[in-house]
C-alpha cells in the first residue's frame, strides 16, 4: 500500500471521528449519585477524615423541594454513603437554626437554602459544604459542588475553601475543577 492510500484512509477515518464527535447521540447516565460522590470526595480532606463524623443536612423549612432533598440525603448517609474508611452520622439542620452546626465537619446544602447565610455560619467552623448546585460553589458560598450525571464532575471553590481553612490533597485537586 502506498503512502497516499494510507493517508487517504486516515483522512477518511478522521472525518468519521469528527462526525461521530459532533453527532448528538443518546447521552450516558453515569452510575452513582451525587450524595455518594460527595461523601467519597470528603475523604480527600487534609488532614484526612476517617471513622464516623457528623454530617449536617441543611434544609429550608417550609420549602418542600429542599425538605425532600434533605430526606434523600439523610437516607443515603444513614445507609453508608462515603468511603471505606469514612462514615457519616447525619444531622438535619434547618437554615434558621445554623447554631446547631457546632461539632459538624461536613454539611450537605440542599437547594433553596440561603447560601450566603450558610457560608457565613459554616466558614468560621471549617465545615466542608457540599451542594449539587454548581452556582453555590461558583458564588464561593459552597466549598464543593458535585454532579454525578451524565458524568461525575466535582467543582471546588478556592475562595470558599480558603475562607473555611479547608485543604484537600493535591492529587484530588488535580482531578477536579477548581474555580
Amino acid at each position: 500500500m502506498g503512502v497516499k492510500t494510507a493517508l487517504y484512509r486516515i483522512a477518511c477515518f478522521v472525518a468519521i471521528v469528527a462526525a461521530a464527535g459532533l453527532c448528538d447521540a443518546a447521552r450516558a447516565q453515569m452510575t452513582g449519585d451525587t450524595i455518594k460522590v460527595g461523601g467519597r470526595a470528603a475523604s480527600f480532606l487534609q488532614p484526612r477524615l476517617a471513622g464516623t463524623v457528623t454530617a449536617a443536612i441543611i434544609y429550608e423549612p417550609g420549602n418542600e423541594a429542599s425538605e425532600r432533598e434533605a430526606r434523600v440525603i439523610e437516607r443515603e448517609l444513614a445507609s453508608g454513603a462515603g468511603a471505606d474508611s469514612l462514615r457519616f452520622r447525619p444531622r438535619r439542620v434547618a437554615s434558621n437554626a445554623l447554631d446547631e452546626l457546632d461539632g459538624v465537619r461536613i454539611a450537605f446544602v440542599t437547594r433553596g437554602t440561603p447560601y450566603r447565610q450558610i457560608a457565613a455560619a459554616t466558614a468560621p467552623r471549617s465545615i466542608l459544604t457540599i451542594s449539587s448546585d454548581s452556582a453555590c460553589a461558583r458564588a464561593a458560598y459552597c466549598t464543593m459542588a458535585v454532579q454525578s450525571s451524565p458524568r461525575i464532575q466535582i467543582v471546588v471553590s478556592r475562595a470558599a475553601a480558603s475562607a473555611a481553612r479547608i485543604r484537600f490533597s493535591s492529587s484530588f485537586l488535580m482531578l477536579v475543577k477548581e474555580i
Binding site: 500500500m1 503512502v3 494510507a6 493517508l7 484512509r9 486516515i10 477515518f13 478522521v14 468519521i16 471521528v17 469528527a18 461521530a20 464527535g21 459532533l22 448528538d24 447521540a25 443518546a26 447521552r27 450516558a28 447516565q29 453515569m30 452510575t31 452513582g32 460522590v37 467519597r40 470526595a41 475523604s43 480527600f44 487534609q46 488532614p47 484526612r48 468511603a83 471505606d84 451524565p150 458524568r151 461525575i152 478556592r158 485543604r167 490533597s169 493535591s170 492529587s171 484530588f172 485537586l173 488535580m174 482531578l175 475543577k177 477548581e178 474555580i179
Partner: protein, 694 residues
C-alpha cells in the same frame, strides 16, 4: 578522566545491602510533614473510572488523559482468562503479543513486533523492569503476581517526555495494591496440560496505622512448545531446548511519615530459565537473574506534590548451554519531581533525573561499557475553559559514554570512540477538546527517543570459524545514534447511552529515523581480510520506518450480568533497512512483515452468583517472521510465513465458598498454529486453578 564523572555506586559495584541502607537513608531524611500519593482504589471509586499518572506525571482520569490509554483494572483481571500480563494486554486494540516460546513473550504497541522489543518501556510502580543490556523486557521475571495488581496502565505512543529513553512506542506501568489502602492475603496454585505447574502468594498487610507491607512470590513451569524442534525456529542443537521456569519474590514496605508524607522501600528478585529467540533470531537457552531495590517518597506541599525516587537494578543474562556467556548489567536511577498546581487552571511539573548504566559482558571487551545520563524535564497543562485542555511536555537527555577497560583486538573501534556524549530531546503535546459531557476529541504530537542498548554500544562476540584463518566478529558500535520516533494522533472517546458503553477511536502516524539493528552473521562486514585479520559486522543505524494505524474499541455491559468488549486494529508498516531486500536479509529486522495488518478481538463475560464464564477470541491476519536457517559458510536470515489465526481463550470460575475460587481456563482452544505470531506452532493449553482469599 572520563570515569570520574560516573556514579561511585556503580564504579564500586554496589552490593544489595549497601544499596538498601542508602534507600533507608532516603526514607529517613524525608520531610517529616505532609504528603499524599495517589490512592488509585479510592479515586477509581470516586470518579467511576481509573486514574493514572503515567501520561503526564499528573493524576488524571482515564477519560481526560491526553494520550491513547488502556487501563486494565482488578475487575478486568478477574474476568480475563489470561494467566500473565502479556495475556492480559493482548486483548486490547493496538497491542500485539508474540509468544515466541512457551516462556518468552514480547509486547509491541502500534507495530514493531520483534523478539527483545526495545521500544516499550515497562515499569512496576514507576520502577523500571526493562532490561538495559539488550534493551528488552523479560516478562516472565517482572516479580509481580496478578493477584497484587491494582491496575495496568498502557500508554500508546511515545512518552519520552516523561519517562526518557525507551518509552519510544509506549509505556506499560504496572501498579500494585497499596497495603495501607487495601489489605489481602491470597494463595493460588494449579496444574495444567503440557506440564504446567504454578503457585503464587500475595500478602498486603497493614502492620500499623502508618505502616504497611506487601509480600508476593510465585513459581511457574511448563513444557516448551512441542512443535518447536520441527519448526523453522528450532535451535541448531535440539539438546538446548529447556522448559521454561520462573521464580519470583517481591517485598515492599510502605510508611507514612506524618500525615502527608508517604514512602516505600522495595526489593524484588526473579530467576528465570527459558528457551527464546534472540534479537538476531537465533533460538537460544537463556537464564535471567534480576534483582531490583528501590525507594520512593512523596510529600504533599499543599501547592503540589514533591516526589523523589531511587532504584538500583542488577540483571544478569547467562546462556544455559554455554558457560562462557555472562552479561552483567547494573542501572542506578535517581530522580526528583515537583508537580505544582499553578492557579486554578494550570499545572506544571519539573523534574530531574540521573541514570548510571553499565554492562560487563563475557564475551566482550575487558572491563565495563558505561554511560551516565543527566536529564531534565518539564510539563505544562493549561485548562482552557470547560471545553479544552492543552498539554506540553519536554525533556532533554545528555548521555556520556565510556569504556573503562581495554578496547582490544579484534575491533575497528578505539577507546576514544567510546568517550562520547549524546544529547537528544523529546516532547509530548496534546489538545483535548471536550465536545460534550460524554465525548472528547484528542489531537496529539510527540517525539520519542530509543537509546542504543548497552549491547548495541559495547558488546562483542568473536566467533571462530572452523577451517578458516580468521574469525567472525559481531560487535556493538559506540558511534551508533539513538532512534527518533515522530508521532501524530487523533482520537475520540465517547460514552454511549445509559449502559456505560465506551467507544474509543484513534488514528496515528509514526515516522522513525535512525533505526538501530544489531550486527548478525549475515550482515555486510565493516572490516574484512586482507586489511583486517577478521570479518567484523557491527550494530548500526540502518534506516527508517513509517507506520499508520487505526484502532477502534468498544466496551460495556448489559443485563447486569454481561460484560463485553470488541476492538479492531489496522496496522500498516513500511520499513526501509539498508542491506535488506526481498532476496537477501542481512539485518535482523522485519517488523513490517512481522506485525499483523488486521486484528479483531472480542471478549464476553457472564457472571451470576458464584459463577463466572468468559470467552475471548482473537483474529490475527497472516504475518512473516524472521528465522535463521542453516547455510554455508554462514547461516542466513529468512522470512517464514505464520498463518492467520482465530484463537479462542476461555475461563470458567466458581466460588465454591467464601474466599475459595476454583477455575478452569484454556488458551488457544482452537489450536490455531499462528495464534502467538511465532514461527513455532502455538498449542492448546488447559489449566486448573485454586485460589484462596483469606
Amino acid at each position: 578522566m572520563p570515569g570520574a564523572r560516573l556514579s561511585p555506586i556503580l564504579r564500586g559495584s554496589t552490593s544489595l545491602p549497601t544499596f538498601l541502607a542508602a534507600c533507608s537513608v532516603l526514607a529517613a531524611v524525608a520531610v517529616p510533614a505532609r504528603a499524599q500519593g495517589v490512592n488509585y482504589a479510592e479515586l477509581e471509586d470516586l470518579f467511576g473510572e481509573p486514574v493514572t499518572t503515567s501520561v503526564t506525571g499528573k493524576p488524571q482520569r482515564a477519560s481526560e488523559a491526553p494520550a491513547s490509554l488502556v487501563i486494565i483494572t482488578r475487575e478486568d483481571i478477574r474476568r480475563s482468562p489470561a494467566h500473565d500480563i502479556p495475556g492480559l494486554v493482548q486483548a486490547y486494540a493496538g497491542i500485539d503479543v508474540a509468544r515466541w516460546m512457551a516462556g518468552q513473550a514480547d509486547v509491541a504497541i502500534r507495530g514493531g513486533v520483534r523478539p527483545y522489543n526495545p521500544s516499550l518501556l515497562v515499569l512496576v510502580n514507576g520502577r523500571q523492569v526493562y532490561l538495559d543490556h539488550y534493551g528488552m523486557t523479560n516478562w516472565a521475571g517482572l516479580g509481580v503476581q496478578l493477584e497484587e495488581i491494582q491496575q495496568i496502565e498502557v500508554v500508546m505512543g511515545p512518552n519520552s517526555a516523561l519517562f526518557g529513553f525507551n518509552a519510544a512506542s509506549g509505556v506499560v506501568n504496572i501498579i500494585t495494591i497499596d497495603p495501607l489502602q487495601s489489605q489481602q492475603v491470597t494463595a493460588s496454585g494449579g496444574v495444567g496440560t503440557e506440564g504446567q505447574r504454578f503457585a503464587s502468594g500475595v500478602a498486603a498487610l497493614k502492620l500499623a496505622d502508618r505502616l504497611g507491607l506487601r509480600l508476593s512470590g510465585g513459581y511457574e513451569t511448563a513444557e516448551e512448545f512441542g512443535g518447536l524442534t520441527a519448526s523453522p525456529a528450532a535451535p541448531m542443537d535440539p539438546a538446548t531446548v529447556f522448559n521454561p521456569r520462573s521464580q519470583e519474590a517481591s517485598a515492599e514496605l510502605y510508611a507514612k511519615l506524618g500525615e502527608l508524607t508517604e514512602s516505600s522501600i522495595s526489593l524484588t528478585h526473579s530467576d528465570t530459565d527459558q528457551t527464546e529467540i534472540s534479537p538476531v533470531h537465533i533460538t537460544i537457552p537463556s537464564h535471567y537473574r534480576f534483582t531490583s531495590a528501590g525507594a520512593r517518597i512523596s510529600h504533599d506541599a499543599g501547592w503540589g506534590v514533591l516526589s523523589a525516587r531511587l532504584f538500583h537494578n542488577w540483571s544478569r543474562f547467562l546462556s544455559a548451554s554455554d558457560p562462557s556467556v555472562d552479561f552483567r548489567n547494573e542501572v542506578l536511577v535517581a530522580s526528583a519531581d515537583a508537580l505544582i498546581r499553578a492557579g486554578a487552571t494550570d499545572t506544571v511539573r519539573v523534574g530531574i533525573e540521573y541514570r548510571a548504566n553499565e554492562i560487563v559482558a563475557e564475551p566482550g571487551y575487558p572491563g565495563a561499557t558505561r554511560y551516565d545520563v543527566f536529564a531534565a524535564n518539564a510539563m505544562w497543562e493549561k485548562r482552557l475553559g470547560d471545553a479544552a485542555t492543552f498539554t506540553l511536555a519536554g525533556r532533554i537527555d545528555n548521555l556520556q559514554l565510556e569504556q573503562d577497560g581495554v578496547v582490544d583486538q579484534p575491533t575497528i573501534f578505539t577507546k576514544a570512540d567510546f568517550d562520547r556524549s549524546i544529547t537528544d530531546w523529546s516532547f509530548n503535546s496534546a489538545l483535548l477538546l471536550q465536545l460534550d459531557d460524554n465525548s472528547s476529541l484528542r489531537l496529539s504530537a510527540s517525539r520519542g527517543i530509543e537509546a542504543p542498548s548497552l549491547a548495541a554500544l559495547g558488546a562483542r562476540l568473536d566467533i571462530q570459524i572452523p577451517g578458516m584463518p580468521f574469525s567472525r566478529v559481531i560487535s556493538g558500535n559506540p558511534l551508533i545514534d539513538p532512534a527518533k520516533i515522530w508521532s501524530a494522533e487523533v482520537g475520540l472517546s465517547r460514552m454511549l447511552g445509559e449502559s456505560g458503553t465506551r467507544l474509543d477511536l484513534a488514528a496515528y502516524f509514526n515516522h522513525t529515523t535512525d533505526i538501530m539493528a544489531l550486527g548478525a552473521p549475515q550482515t555486510a562486514p565493516r572490516a574484512a581480510p586482507p586489511a583486517y585479520p577478521f570479518i567484523l559486522s557491527t550494530a548500526d543505524n540502518v534506516g527508517s520506518s513509517e507506520a499508520y494505524g487505526l484502532e477502534a474499541s468498544a466496551a460495556g455491559r448489559f443485563g447486569g450480568n454481561w460484560h463485553w468488549s470488541l476492538n479492531y486494529t489496522w496496522t500498516h508498516s513500511d520499513l526501509e533497512v539498508a542491506g535488506n531486500s526481498p532476496a537477501l536479509i542481512t539485518r535482523p529486522l522485519a517488523s513490517d512483515s512481522a506485525t499483523p495488518e488486521h486484528n479483531l478481538k472480542g471478549q464476553l463475560t457472564y457472571e451470576r452468583g458464584p459463577w463466572l464464564a468468559t470467552v475471548a477470541a482473537r483474529y490475527t491476519s497472516p504475518t512473516e517472521q524472521l528465522v535463521t536457517a542453516p547455510a554455508v559458510p554462514f547461516d542466513v536470515l529468512e522470512l517464514v510465513p505464520v498463518a492467520e489465526s482465530l484463537a479462542v481463550d476461555a475461563k470458567l470460575a466458581f466460588e465454591a465458598r467464601e474466599g475459595v475460587t476454583l477455575a478452569i481456563a484454556g488458551e488457544n482452544l482452537t489450536g490455531a498454529d499462528g495464534a502467538y505470531l511465532s514461527p513455532a506452532p502455538a498449542e492448546r493449553r488447559l489449566r486448573a486453578t485454586v485460589r484462596v482469599d483469606f
